[in-house]
């Protein structure tokens, strides 16, 4: 279990108790959602990092596989072209991660607003974070990282209905910017759907070459199989299965967006929070499983 995941687990338990028993349960819902949102951003950031690494590893696997059969003068051109194209992809992934970090800032401000004495100045902070989000998202909506424009994947609008709150600053914030934040969450969901599609291909390419080189070839050869052959085989085949569940990240983003809608409408209960945390943990599980079997070796 990763340390990040442990942190999420530790944070979640008291929140669940709080949601069930506290008299100001409504405000506690916002604290819970805010912390879950922060945990989501950390988890999706890990996943996006892994997507970038997988893209490079997949491309390297292709270059290495082709190298023995390529005339030497051609190799330089091939690797230079690939470097340039990968750099463009990594830039896009970095923008997606930045978008998530701005959402994290917003969740943190929202968590601070979950207090009946929260100052009105927090509204200005929320406005500032939203302005940064909107600026970045206009670039990202036209971005390409795979088999469709990101905007093709953006889910339809979920209407945000705000139930009355004792924390007036928070209520005002939700009425003013709730629908806009819902769109930013939809964009995040769309981007993770695209990243998930691409990571499947990149991982399949990498894992295919590993199966050939580290599982099949040593077994078929006349010599002894390496001592760690069975262990490596298990690692590679397990990662192959995990790579097919890359959609878990988009699922968690979807839960977060629907959770936000429920939160505003006073329908976000402990079951919804619990379900959201399960999905966030599934991103971390996925990121853990699709890492290279022997990093740093």
């Amino acid at each position: 279990m990763s340390s990040v995941r442990t942190t999420i687990g530790v944070v979640t338990l008291p929140l669940l108790l709080l949601l069930q028993g506290c008299v100001s349960a409504r405000l506690a819902q916002f604290s819970g959602f805010s912390q879950a949102g922060v945990a989501y951003v950390k988890a999706s950031g890990t996943f996006i990092d892994e997507a970038g690494s997988a893209a490079i590893r997949g491309d390297s696997a292709l270059l290495l596989k082709a190298r023995p059969d390529l005339p030497q003068p051609e190799r330089r051109e091939r690797v230079s072209t690939a470097n340039k194209l990968l750099a463009q992809r990594l830039l896009l992934l970095r923008q997606i991660k930045r978008h998530g970090q701005l959402l994290q800032d917003y969740f943190e401000v929202m968590g601070s607003m979950a207090d009946s004495k929260a100052p009105e100045s927090l509204g200005a902070a929320a406005q500032g974070v939203y302005d940064s989000l909107a600026k970045l998202s206009s670039t990202l909506k036209d971005a390409k990282i795979g088999s469709s424009t990101v905007s093709d994947f953006i889910p339809s609008v979920v209407p945000i209905v705000v139930a009355p709150l004792k924390a007036k600053t928070l209520e005002k914030e939700l009425r003013e910017r709730g629908p806009l934040i819902e769109r930013e969450l939809a964009l995040q969901e769309a981007m993770l759907a695209v990243v998930s599609q691409e990571i499947k291909t990149d991982l399949s390419v990498e894992l295919n070459t590993q199966v050939t080189q580290e599982v099949i070839n040593p077994y078929v050869s006349a010599g002894e199989v390496p001592d760690d052959w069975a262990a490596r085989r298990e690692e590679i085949l397990s990662a192959t299965v995990a790579s097919q569940s890359a959609g878990a990240a988009a699922q968690a983003a979807n839960e977060l967006r629907l959770g936000f809608q429920k939160l505003a409408a006073n329908q976000f209960d402990s079951a919804a929070l619990s379900s959201l945390i399960v999905d966030i943990n599934s991103i971390l599980d996925l990121a853990e499983k699709i890492k290279p079997p022997n990093p740093g070796v």
């Binding site: 292709l62 190298r67 059969d69 390529l70 896009l92 390409k144 795979g146 050939t212």
Partner: protein, 114 residues
């Protein structure tokens, strides 16, 4: 526009599927019997497919709509033929020919190195 977006999606998908096939143990086993020329041709095509995939993926759909529309029929036919060749995968030469065909069409939509 929807049709062209779908065509774009299908093109990228078939390019990804091609790479997965060309790195599979089954492909490697088949290539054991290939000539040196065939192997070089396959290696070159594999990298060109990856280049086409990354180049297309980094382009905004709006930037290549006209080129996609102009090559719609050829691309649709090329995708179908390549997908069929990948599904059956009985002759390496046939797969390589289909890859060459689709790359020549993709090369009319986005500039590729070679």
């Amino acid at each position: 526009m929807d049709d062209l977006a779908g065509l774009y999606t299908s093109t990228l998908r078939v390019l990804g599927d091609t790479l997965v096939t060309m790195t599979s143990p089954e492909w490697d086993a088949t290539m054991q019997e290939a000539t040196a020329t065939q192997r070089t041709n396959a290696a070159r095509l594999m990298l060109r497919v990856q280049e086409a995939r990354l180049t297309l993926a980094n382009k905004a759909l709006g930037d290549i709509l006209d080129e996609l529309a102009a090559n719609e029929d050829g691309l649709q036919k090329g995708i179908k033929q390549l997908q069929d060749a990948l599904d059956v995968f009985d002759k390496v030469e046939r797969v390589l020919n289909r890859i060459s065909s689709i790359l020549s069409i993709v090369g009319r939509i986005v500039p590729l190195v070679a």
